[in-house]
Symmetry: C2
Subunit: 170 residues, 2 copies
Amino acid sequence: MRVLGIDCGSERTGYGVIETDGKTHELLAAGVIRTSAKEAPEKRLLRIAMGLREVMEKFSPQAAAVEEVFHGVNAKAALKLAQVRGVALLTAAEAGVPVGEYSPLEIKTSVVGYGRAEKRQVQLMLQSLLRLDRRLDSKDASDAVAVAVCHATRAVALLQTGFSGRGVGA
Amino acid sequence: MRVLGIDCGSERTGYGVIETDGKTHELLAAGVIRTSAKEAPEKRLLRIAMGLREVMEKFSPQAAAVEEVFHGVNAKAALKLAQVRGVALLTAAEAGVPVGEYSPLEIKTSVVGYGRAEKRQVQLMLQSLLRLDRRLDSKDASDAVAVAVCHATRAVALLQTGFSGRGVGA
C-alpha cells in the first residue's frame, strides 16, 4: 500500500510518501511545500493545493493521513492550520484518496511506542524504520512521514480486525 | 462590480451573488450548499468546493468575501469551520478572484449601521437594500449576502481612499 502523510502548515506543509505492507516501510519521497507570508492567504492555500496535487499525481497514493489540529495553544494559529487542513483533505478527496486522521499521541505511539516521545526520538526511529542513511532533517517532512507510518501501521491492524480506515479522532 | 459572499459551514455553506456599484445592489443569486454528516469530512469539503466552483463559473464574480472565523465559543466547531473556509479561499484563488475578509462587527455595521444588530434586523435591512419582495429565509444565504454587501460598500470606500480591497482582519 502506498500512503501519503501530510503535515499541514500555512508557511510550510510537509509531505512524505511511503510504500508499506504495514510492517516494513520504504520511503519514496519527502519534502516541504513552502509559501510566503507576503502572499494573500488564498494564494498560499492555492500553492499548497498545487503542491499536494503534484505529489498525488506523481505517486498515486492509495491512502492519505493527516494529524488532527491541535487547539488550545494558539487559537489564531490553529485556525490558520485548519484552513490548510481543509485544503489538504479536499485535494485528497479530489484524487479519490481516503484520509485517516490521527492525534499526535497516536502518531508518536505508533512510531516510537511511546506517546510523549520527543521530536528527535521520532526522527531517529523513522531513520531506523525506513533504513535511511541519515535523519530526515526537515521537521515538517519528518512529521509527515510519521503520520504516514502511523496510518500504515493502523490500517493493517484495522484491516485485520475489520474496522474502517479512519482514525479514532475522525 | 459583481461580488460573491460566502458564509462557511461544514453542514451548510451559504452563498450570495450581488451586482453592485457600492451603493445600490442587485441580488443575482442566493442559496445554500448542503452536506451530510454521514459523509467523510474530505467528501463534505469536496461537495462544498464543487458547489462554490459552480457558482463562480455561472456568475464570474470579480471579488469574493468571507466572514472571519470566530474563535472562542467552541474550538472544535471553529476548526471545522476554518477547514471549510480554507476550501472557500482556495476555490476563489483558483478562479483568480481576490477575497476580502470581514469581522461580524464590520458586516453588521455596513449592512445595518450598527455592529450589534440582531440577525432579523440584518435580514430586514437586506430585504430593503436589495428591494426584495420578502426576506431571505435561509440564515446561511442571508449571512452570505450580508458579507457581499459589506465587501461592496467597503471596496468602493477603499477604492476612493486608494487602499487595497482586503478587510481589516486579514
